[in-house]
Assembly symmetry: C2
Homo-oligomer: 260 residues x 2
């Protein structure tokens, strides 16, 4: 039987430990053929950026003496477009983006390169998963990598609904402390920014962004609450951003084109 | 009466003609105080990127002898964050992003810097509008600028529902050919990419992205159909990307945490 082709990518860059852990775990399963196409350097918070004005260079990355994957001078979405349209010989059966160092939950998923790669896969009708762990400083990728293998098997077998990806977050705890899996919605948790203002030697202003992660409202079925309560969070995500429940509301405004 | 504060930005850069047309039209109305905080250069297709590792510089931009606005070495989302959190003395009553050269419809709005700026405004609870015109090569900003003034008055008066922005696209036609305004949903129209492969003098591969805009399915109530039929399209957009209609579906998969 032909092996299932899994494309893996991330936004922490091709040298990131989380990508390597994902690769190693998936490779242990004989049923998978794993291809890595990932940014040549960290590309966090790039949102769903793509490169439209510049050429995108691609070079082969090795690990020890072995070929590991393709390092792309572009964003996570660029990697997925290039992999599917130019690098891979056939369409992947699955895409996994991650394992991201730090959570991707709440309103901040719109900034996430990890999620954007999975969105891009979904646009190309490749079942796609984003994987992140809720630990920025000292992540243990072991549990996430095992869960990725489990989800790979399930999703390859069952498929995903059209235009729907899975955004998975693993809590920051020991494996035997994880209480289970929750299907969640996107929370309103977000990074609250502030800016530190400085002046350069020529007196020109510049700003550094800093901030803190805060929970705005609590809903026990959201992504943030799930991981904080030691559940694995799986959020089904789509990219139709229409606020359908507001269409009638605005129709009742009766905005005509008259601009006099 | 205190003038209403309108923040304007874009992704085509502070020198773009569409921003200037918007500024001029809004300034003609005595009820508005207009502040410009925009990228110092073109930042198209940056999606919802933000700058997290680098300092962001800001300089004052003049037009003739007059101060015009703040030019930011960052993305459209950076501009909005900086404007609200660091540059402006009070929170704006309205944000308008645009007028973008070229349409922002269909699946491609996830790549749009124009829409991302309006999303960022919405996150900060500023009523926000993205404005684009369906002409990339020879845009006439006149109609869009007039419609922006009309919408500014309406939205300042009525407000917008929480977490909802308006994505407005103006058809590419003469003012008297515009049939009216439609409240629309996001279409499945998209840019179909292909890559042209080259090798640099040292034999390293690089790729140029090119493509064509294609309509995938037709729905007379979507953004793409509206502008192609000479209607102004107004799509209510939100940034909760949860596929709520799929939550039960995945709950029935009964994914537990057991990974043996």
């Amino acid at each position: 039987m032909e092996k299932k082709l899994i494309l893996i990518t991330n936004d922490d860059g091709i040298k990131a430990e989380g990508l390597s852990a994902l690769y190693t775990a998936l490779r242990k399963d004989n049923g998978f053929d794993i291809k890595v196409v990932a940014p040549d350097r960290e590309r966090s918070a790039v949102g769903h950026a793509i490169t439209v004005f510049d050429p995108i260079s691609v070079k082969k990355e090795t690990k020890g003496k072995d070929f590991f994957g393709y390092a792309v001078d572009g964003t996570p979405a660029d990697c997925v477009k290039l992999a599917i349209k130019a690098i891979l010989k056939k369409k992947p059966d699955l895409l996994i983006s991650g394992i991201n160092r730090g959570p991707n939950v709440g309103e901040d998923i719109i900034y996430s390169g990890t999620v954007s790669a999975a969105t891009e896969g979904t646009i190309y009708e490749v079942p796609s998963i984003a994987m992140s762990i809720d630990n920025l400083k000292n992540p243990d990728y072991h549990i996430a990598a095992k869960f990725a293998v489990k989800m790979a098997k399930i999703v390859i077998k069952k498929g995903l609904p059209k235009k729907t990806l899975l955004n998975i977050n693993i809590p920051n705890t020991a494996e035997d402390k994880i209480k289970g899996v929750k299907i969640t919605c996107q929370s309103t948790a977000k990074f609250k920014e502030y800016f530190i203002k400085r002046a350069d030697p020529r007196g020109r202003d510049y700003y550094w962004m800093d901030g803190d992660f805060v929970e705005v409202t609590k809903n026990k079925n959201d992504d943030y609450s799930a991981i904080k309560n030691n559940y694995i969070s799986i959020t089904p995500v789509h990219y139709d951003m229409t606020a359908y429940d507001k269409i009638n509301f605005f129709e009742e405004w009766h905005i005509d084109k008259d601009m006099k």
